[in-house]
């Protein structure tokens, strides 16, 4: 079969799964008084349509910031405004000021789902398809199977089309940026990344690799000649795109400060709910939140995050390469997720999407990581009533990965990109020969544990003394996995050198 028809079938499959998931329940369905993210998005449509721009981020009599106040950058607000216009055409009740609070109905759900679907179809999916078509040194079959696995990744589908958010827009823009950078269109790439950043501030997780990669590229060209010009051009593009996005807010400084305060709520504490990061897991042993003051918490988390980022960023700046860039995106986002301040469980998607991009290079590890990342959001998905969708999509994703990449045959040190690392260890460790077997067993063990825990949290009631037992167990287990993955990705990045690649080519 030809490439285009295979790709079309892949896209159609992805779309079908998305729409089927969207028929299910959403976050906060029928749960007054606060509802959930669905109501938040609807409320932003209401606010942006009915109020002048000056009041969007301010607490006024018409805009109660405690009830789902806007806390995303301007592009999200513009997007809500656009959706509100369409909503107004169909049914003005949906966005009527004040009276529409908590509005729920079948047609409205259909409309909201359709907006996510369209956004996904316009921004994220084309980027994925283009990215997979442009993969170098791969057969058609490999390209199609990467596209299939990326489009079937359950985490993003469940959060966007089930729980209800628009992550595919910001992640899609980030993907476009990566795509442009791989073609050396640095200016377009930085513009796309600015759009992503202005859609969701969480994209800051990706900003360091972008910065280091572009800076390294400028260094490479020589900071006195072409490099400097490139640096100036990039800086100019970034400033201009930010200015355009923030134009309506540039009327006075107080506006900008208020938006920034809404975007970075420092007073909300180290973590909320149950997150699979290090702080939440540590709090089982030490109650960090009560011992340390919020200011120290902030400083502590910043310091740890910075330390964990440092090696990757230095390496990328000194030796900028596209492959290193993709791996750096993964490891930096993962560091942010594990160590930074005020992390949501959904932020793991920022790590997952770069992992999707390297699924054709390290299929085994990528599949494993993507499964764990979906699992780490289990408590959230259970709360939204998405258990069935979670089970089916995860199993489908696993089987798609197993059949299209035959991942179980790719567990040797070389397939995991650990060749040079194992060479440097050879003198000290003798167990390296049975490495593939150990890795495979670990994978099976982890999948079993995840399966059992899913089953338990879906069917059993937790003991009365420990009501949060299962969510906590889920986040601790996922956190352990993520620490392991962070180590792995750092090793791959740090031991990756040009000499090892040339060796590969020689052999």
């Amino acid at each position: 079969m030809e490439k285009w028809s295979l790709m079309t079938i892949t896209v159609l499959l992805g779309l079908t799964v998305r729409w089927t998931v969207s028929l299910g329940s959403y976050s906060g369905a029928g749960k007054p008084p606060m509802y959930g993210d669905y109501e938040a998005q609807r409320h932003w449509q209401e606010v942006t349509y009915n109020l002048p721009i000056r009041q969007w981020y301010f607490n006024t009599s018409d805009n109660n910031l405690l009830y789902w106040g806007l806390d995303y950058p301007p592009l999200t607000a513009y997007h809500s405004f656009l959706c509100a216009y369409v909503a107004k055409l169909i049914n003005p009740d949906w966005i009527a000021l004040h009276t529409s609070q908590g509005y729920e109905s079948q047609p409205h759900k259909l409309f909201m789902r359709a907006t996510v679907f369209v956004a996904d179809l316009l921004v994220y999916i084309p980027a994925v398809i283009l990215y997979c078509c442009c993969l170098k040194e791969t057969s058609t079959k490999k390209k199609v199977s990467s596209a299939l696995c990326i489009l079937l990744y359950p985490g993003l589908i469940l959060i966007d089309h089930g729980h209800f958010q628009y992550n595919s827009v910001s992640l899609g823009f980030a993907l476009w940026a990566i795509l442009c950078l791989s073609y050396d269109w640095d200016l377009l790439g930085s513009m796309a990344f600015c759009l992503a950043l202005n859609y969701k501030q969480m994209e800051l997780y990706h900003s360091l690799p972008f910065f280091c990669y572009l800076l390294g590229k400028c260094f490479k060209k020589g900071l006195k000649g072409k490099g400097l010009i490139l640096l100036i051009k990039i800086a100019g593009t970034v400033v201009v795109s930010f200015a355009v996005c923030w134009l309506p807010f540039c009327t006075d400084v107080e506006q900008i400060m208020q938006v920034l305060r809404r975007l970075f709520p420092i007073d909300r504490g180290l973590f909320e709910d149950k997150v699979a990061n290090i702080w939440c897991s540590l709090s089982v042993l030490i109650k960090i939140k009560s011992i340390v003051s919020p200011q120290t918490q902030l400083k502590l988390s910043c310091a740890v995050t910075f330390l964990s980022l440092l090696p990757t960023c230095v390496k990328l700046t000194l030796e900028p390469s596209l492959r290193g860039f993709k791996f750096a995106l993964v490891s930096c986002a993962l560091s942010f997720f594990l160590f930074s301040f005020q992390v949501h469980e959904k932020s793991i998607l920022l790590v997952s999407v770069p992992v999707c991009l390297i699924i054709n290079e390290i299929p085994f590890m990528a599949t494993w990581f993507l499964l764990v990342s979906t699992f780490s959001m289990l408590p959230l998905l259970l709360k939204d009533g998405l258990l069935l969708a979670y089970t089916v999509t995860s199993l489908a994703f696993l089987s798609a990965c197993v059949t299209s990449f035959s991942i179980f045959e790719k567990t040797s040190a070389e397939d995991l990109q650990l060749k040079s690392f194992s060479l440097s260890l050879k003198g000290y460790v003798s167990w390296f020969k049975s490495f593939p077997k150990i890795v495979k067993r670990l994978f099976l063990l982890s999948v079993t544990v995840m399966g059992i825990l899913t089953l338990l949290s879906a069917t059993m009631n937790p003991p009365e003394r420990l009501p949060d037992l299962f969510p906590l167990a889920v986040s601790i287990i996922s956190c352990l996995h993520f620490l392991f993955f962070l180590m792995y990705f750092n090793i791959v990045i740090l031991w990756d050198s040009k000499s090892s690649k040339s060796q590969k080519k020689m052999s």
């Binding site: 295979l6 079938i9 779309l15 079908t16 028929l23 047609p107």
Partner: protein, 438 residues
């Protein structure tokens, strides 16, 4: 849930249970597909698994759009029944005749719609099981009649019937059961016309009525008020053309089935001929039957999939028949949330079937000629008109059934064409020279 008074009972648990029962019974279908794939010879095997006929056949059967939506969205247990049917076909192809007959008898007692293909089964079993040998030229050797085989077969069928109908015979309710099974009171066509010959007939009648009224050939007072597409299942009168009685449809069906059955008897071609006959029987009865449901088209589509991966000619017919047949199932799912799903699934299946069959027969001439291509492409504007443009026009209130009428008439054209084409190809096929008598 099982309390009979509890009509229209519905809860999440019930939906889950019912849906899951369909998925569970589909296991039989999957097994049957596997058996069928074994019967298909893999001569054309490419190096890639995606290009093997068996793989394509499995995908065509398991991903069949019609079966998916009718069973898992609309809700019926066809997957299970078609599993039985495919399994019996596979058994016949493997020359395990008794098993095949048993399975088919069971199937008949599950759903009597399969009586449409019974002639093909009967003749084929008689020809290849009851007569154990053929003459050198392919005609039947009358001496080889085997009494043992006939008795065995008769016993099998009678036993199944006795088990199934026995309790009702004892209770003396047989006439009531039969009148429930064959509801001739329900009118020539279903509320939504199945795309068959009678849909065309009705459409011509309607058109003639409108024309007649306009030029005053007809007396408006004599025309019955009831609209044929009024959404009610009832008998109605044609205005210009003569009305059709159940007997007439029965005769039409029998007459249209006969040539294919004769063909099976006089030009035996083994399992291939049998399959062709099954498809023709199903299609003919779909064309002329009384009160046919649009879902009955699956009865022809699924067996034809088996033929389509073996010969380019059949593949062409298959593409026309599946695309139009599946399109005609669209009105089954009419709510807005289901619209994207049906379109996506339909596109998925259609694109897959076209591209896979094209790559399978890439060395032969194109599967479709230009006229057929234009016909199929025009389904797209038709769908856009029916689902998107029409609801926005003022006719939505005055003529709400126009989209259904358009769909069924347009699809009827394609299905009639496919039926004729298949018939012609079967009748004109040369008698193969038999290598040796079995």
């Amino acid at each position: 849930m099982l309390v009979i008074q509890n009509l229209n009972y519905s809860s999440h648990a019930t939906i889950f249970f019912q849906r899951f029962s369909v998925i569970f019974t589909d296991i039989l279908f999957i097994y049957a597909v596997r058996e069928c794939c074994r019967c298909v010879n893999g001569k054309r095997a490419g190096k890639d698994i995606m290009e093997k006929p068996t793989f394509i056949l499995a995908a065509l059967l398991l991903w069949n759009f019609g079966l998916l939506i009718v069973d898992h969205i609309h809700f019926q247990y066809n997957g299970f029944l078609f599993g039985l049917m495919l399994l019996s076909i596979a058994r016949l192809c493997q020359k395990r005749y008794l098993e095949g007959a048993l399975l088919f008898a069971v199937l008949l007692h599950f759903k009597h719609i399969y009586v449409y293909v019974a002639p093909a089964y009967g003749i084929y079993l008689l020809r290849s099981y009851c007569f154990t040998a053929n003459n050198a030229d392919g005609s039947v050797k009358w001496r080889s009649f085997s009494f043992l085989h006939v008795t065995l077969m008769g016993l099998t069928v009678c036993l199944v019937s006795a088990l199934s109908l026995g309790p009702f015979v004892v209770l003396g309710q047989l006439p009531q059961v039969i009148s429930r099974l064959f509801p001739f009171k329900r009118g020539l066509c279903h509320a939504y016309w199945a795309p068959n010959f009678w849909a065309l007939y009705n459409a011509v009648d309607k058109a003639l009525t409108v024309v007649g009224l306009k030029y005053n050939f007809l007396d408006p007072t004599k025309i019955p008020k009831a609209s044929m597409t009024g959404g009610l299942v009832q008998e109605f009168q044609h205005t210009v053309l003569p009305s059709v009685t159940p007997l007439a449809t029965l005769i039409c069906t029998l007459v249209s089935i006969l040539p294919s059955v004769f063909c099976l008897w006089f030009k035996p071609q083994g399992p291939r001929g049998f399959l062709q006959c099954v498809v023709l029987c199903a299609l003919s009865s779909f064309m002329f039957g009384w009160h046919v449901h649009e879902k009955a088209i699956l009865l022809a589509i699924l067996p034809l999939s088996l033929l389509s991966v073996q010969r380019a000619k059949d593949a062409g017919i298959y593409l026309i028949l599946t695309t139009t047949g599946h399109f005609s199932l669209f009105p089954l799912l009419f709510t807005l949330p289901e619209l994207p799903i049906k379109i996506l699934l339909m596109l998925l299946f259609t694109i897959y079937s076209f591209s896979s069959l094209k790559s399978l027969f890439r060395r032969e001439r194109p599967l479709l000629n230009w006229l057929e291509t234009i016909y199929l492409v025009q389904l797209v504007p038709l769908e856009i008109f029916c689902e998107i443009i029409f609801p926005l026009t003022p006719w939505k209130l005055t003529l709400p059934f126009v989209p259904l009428l358009l769909t069924s008439v347009y699809c009827a054209l394609g299905i009639t064409y496919a039926w004729l084409k298949l018939y012609v190809s079967v009748l004109t096929e040369p008698i193969p020279v038999r290598q040796k008598a079995e």
